[in-house]
Chain length 376, copies 4
């Protein structure tokens, strides 16, 4: 690449694990900046190994960013889980969890509610918002480093998570690119950043409460939101550290689609323009219908019986209460009226994703659905 | 069901294996007949556990056959591998091989070339063709039983195969219903039964030589074709025992589709009508384009590098030499011209199936393709 | 069996799941009683599919109990997870978690702290302890049933857990039989039932706080201990509902050993005698050394690097700080002094279990160890 | 290392595959020589990923060879299958076959009987044995290279095998280090090199016919033995190209044991001394009992039923006809006399290895046994 470009754009690798051969497993880190003031953006993809489309999105982001002026800095970490990507079991990739112990690769990030409270109590009234932010970032970084260096060691998934979180610790905007099984594009938006629903160009938005369950987006927004709340309680005035974090689900797992990835990238660039990172003339959110739902109304439909399943409704399609959502073939009763059982929609809904295999045990998560959704 | 129907149609189960809980794993066997003379037909599905669409085809066959007069008898064995169907690894079914030892579930059927030769040598010149057929069937059955009862035991896949083969030993027509990964409908036709290409309603036909590699169709047709050849050599006149066997690939694995299954069933009924089992006025082969290829021209395209793959051509689509068949994203080079490598068609071809995952290691079978194909 | 015995001992099965063939997966339930007053005892084994030795223990328990008078009733549920037992991946059993989604089979039992509080608030001062216990059991049972019958369904592991918990809901004593990877015999004992350490005949005891993390023993003891605490707070007097629950680790997974299982059974019978279920003349705890540790001092040693590991110390063996616990072969450095790295004991300790494979990634849990242990 | 040593001993890596991240997977190659005339020796380990002890043996070989004068050259390739080593499924390594397609990692080496015949026919009567050997090696190498570079590509396991075989193509002695599941030390010896049984220090020897089934040892010895036979047929005089190849089974898989590995290495050094590679004063075969069996008498005992198994006899132990070899617990019959079924020795035998898991399906290979063995 030309020298000027190469100064804007750098690449290095970090080792996040070692395999059973004793070799390091590396993650590539692309950074791009014009040394202009602005937010720090961190975008990673494929923490779940089979969810690969985010890598294409990052590819298209890089192509666009190479030709665009940036305010702030953008850090892009494709294929951030080299362990998960490489776990084959049969033809598919079994990349959602560590095959040794079942640990979800997306549940070991750092968040310490007590630390937030203690820090908030210790802040001097006179400290500026910027200094508070900077000081607390230092504390977060050293806490993560301390966890990573404890003498008895740490589990693989958690090590991976913490090494990635260190890369994101200075970010104001964190985007974690995922995929569903067979899925629409949808996005998880924390309640306190609801306006982002109009800044992304994603048709289905799930609003989630400020609760930590281990994922990267939660680790980021819980930390800063809680800190804001604690400081507001204490000093009686509002704080806004301007940190946002989202999990974006870019369609179906086990799919690479360059054309769709280009659209996905364009949507993210539109969001970044809204946040002041890019030129708002060049990139804008799409003019489109957006549907929103609270997490409590984003429901999972399990099957009560095992068998072979036809998925009768497509992700994104409006379904009426009582409609047939799935047919289950019962191979021991092909000769009678029990041959085909049906799974019925318990209410009006929109399926957002469905299970990717035709063979299911009882208790399989067949669909995840929007219920009681609203147009945004 | 009404009594008359129930006399035509019977169902029972046989145990083909025991699981680690010590419980029997059963296979359902449906038999339907009007006690009229005609061929015996044996149809099984899902010997590979993830290849489930054949079960829907058998469901639709049963619905049609319940209302249709049959010459001969039809034996239907859906979900014939209850072990393979139930091997989950991640969300998908890892059903092509025994997860304990890698044994393909479709390679342990019985065929003994030497036994055919010995039997052919022993036949009396005066014996009628029917008596030869009947006598040799008895020999086959007892050979299979002897293998199954040897004192040191037998491997699981082979036990399963032989127990199924015993069900098929009297059949004149054997259809083994499979699926490809992401696949067109296609059929394997032994060279000596080439005319069947026009009797099925399947667009892509692969003509295979009379060679045994362990599969059910081969075990059936090799046996009888070899016997015919040996007897012809010996007595200088032609023999035709009328035994045919085929592997039918009913589209993609991990898919249940009732509407497509009804069409698949109709095609099989058309073939059965050609063979005298059903009324030729009621069921006919479709009027359609059929393409054929010799096995030597049915080629596998492997990738030389690992990475994340977009499949750029669809199964069934005509592709020109030099066309891009796949793009492979290289996550360590997203910033330069090596970011995307392409896999090119080595000659004019039609992809018949492709690998179902976007993540591949080097040496993965990306596509299987028709080359030098002809219209039939 | 003779009629008198058969009246004492009954067996039935319940379906806990359906597999992808649509067949029910059953669990056997053995009940044995002399209709004499006494505690109800619930013992299950193999909730983790590869942890099979508990089944042998239950076999030996049954042999002994057939010849012994019982006060109360004993419910024995061997092989309580017919899904997990049958998940093979390679030669071994991958039975700790659902291979579809990574869910640990032992984390979905029911416990509702708020329900305990609400119930405690609603109890009438005059109600007898027995009536409180009976009423609360009814509430637990109906809560579990409500969860099992919710309209959107429930995940497989949780369904399994709740169906088993229903069997245990009347029990005063709950024993959940597990195994470690390569492991000593050890037992998890809730802090409030510390005296049980002397009633079992198990050399290594881990004392755990009254905290619910999803397992069966916790679900049982947290519920009743919390209720006791709430009632004591409210009424200012002690309550003891006499409910105890333990997880017993009967040595190593993937091992069936009849002789050891007989000893394990004898130890459990000794405990049951202490609890008044059996004759204390006939069965007694062993006279032996017992070591105890708090959960905080039961530590996991992870490896920082991947490679091929020799486990240099045996489960149960006393190890000094600085001793070599493992050697890791580095195949890229066989020619120099980096060929073998060592993992060192960070303090004096007793390894209780170690990882069962010689090939490890970084972040693998090599050992779990007693530190700061005491003789009981 | 000191310079003189480093000249004797070199190390480099070759890439044998690429993973789904697009990264190369490398194999280390250690070569050691004093530039003195003598045989070329090729030793590899861990073509099956869970069979790791051979890596320790190579480590100890290197330690010894660093201090010993060598006639010829020794090539050591530990951990020769970086794909297989890294396939975890649960805690164990599923390394015997490609998890994508079930292909055994040890069945894709090159051998072409027709090529041997054609070459033998083309040899000029006057050519020296050395020149024939050298010319044929060139032909082998170019055949392997041609297979590796064919335009449609090649499967992963076969690519791996051929890249390794290229490293071994000049070798006079080829040792492929494996492990059994739970196993004694044993060795496969081709019939035409029977004397080697006394040169190794391995208690159990299996004599195998000159038949190719895909493994490395077979690929080597079949080639050269066949060539000798064809040339002898043609010219009426004996040829001996001095090529030997063996599969050595160094105990149980999933075990690293440095002390045992040192003994294993010493045994190999004794063999190499017999072959003129090392000083016969320094290294000698052990004085020990050796038992031999023909392949036809090396029998597999399968179980007819599934369940939970206690292995009652140890590898290496003499067993009498009728002795109990295994007990299988039947969890549905713990209350009656069917609770425990037994697997009986069908004749006098020595178990050499047994299955490593306590949970088995019907048709599992419980034991492999010497029958009709002889003392050598």
């Amino acid at each position: 690449m030309p020298e000027a470009e190469s100064r804007r754009l750098t690449k290095h690798h970090i080792a996040v694990a070692q395999n059973a051969s004793g070799r390091s497993l590396n993650v590539p880190i692309y950074k791009i900046s014009d040394k202009r003031p602005g937010p720090t953006v961190y975008i990673q993809s494929s923490i779940h190994g089979a969810e690969v489309q985010g890598n294409v999105v990052i590819y298209h982001l890089l192509q666009a960013l190479k030709k665009t002026q940036i305010n702030g800095e953008i850090i892009l970490v494709p294929n951030c889980n080299p362990v998960g990507t490489n776990i084959k079991a049969g033809e598919y990739t079994m990349g959602r969890f560590d095959p040794v112990n079942g640990t979800n690769w997306n549940r070991g990030y750092f968040y310490d509610e007590q630390q937030v409270r203690d820090f908030a109590s210790s802040v001097d009234q006179a400290t500026s918002s910027d200094d508070i932010k900077s000081e607390f970032r230092g504390l977060l970084r050293s806490s993560i480093e301390a966890k990573l260096s404890q003498p008895w060691g740490l589990g693989l998934a958690q090590q991976l998570n913490l090494k990635l979180q260190k890369l994101a610790v200075n970010a104001d905007i964190v985007l974690d690119l995922h995929n569903g099984p067979v899925s629409t594009r949808h996005v998880y938006i924390p309640e306190y950043a609801k306006q982002a629903a109009h800044q992304f160009s994603i048709p289905h938005c799930i609003f989630i409460p400020n609760v930590f369950a281990g994922a990267l987006d939660e680790a980021c927004f819980c930390t800063w939101w809680s800190l804001q709340d604690r400081l507001e309680e204490r000093f009686g005035r509002g704080f806004d550290f301007g940190v946002e974090a989202f999990t974006l689900e870019m369609g179906s797992q086990e799919v690479i689609d360059f054309a769709e990835g280009e659209k996905d990238a364009l949507g993210i660039l539109g969001y970044l323009a809204c946040k002041g990172v890019l030129d708002t003339q060049q990139f804008k959110p799409a003019n489109m219908q957006r549907l929103g739902v609270s997490l409590a109304n984003y429901k999972t439909l399990f099957t009560d019986f095992g068998g072979m399943v036809e998925y009768c409704v497509k992700p994104g399609q409006k379904v009426k209460q009582g409609d047939v959502m799935a047919r289950v073939l019962n191979i021991d009763n092909l000769d009678d009226e029990q041959a085909v059982r049906t799974v019925i929609a318990p209410c009006d809904l929109i399926p957002i994703l469905h299970f990717p295999s035709a063979s299911v045990l009882s208790g399989t998560q067949l669909y995840k659905c929007f219920t009681n959704y609203v147009e945004l």
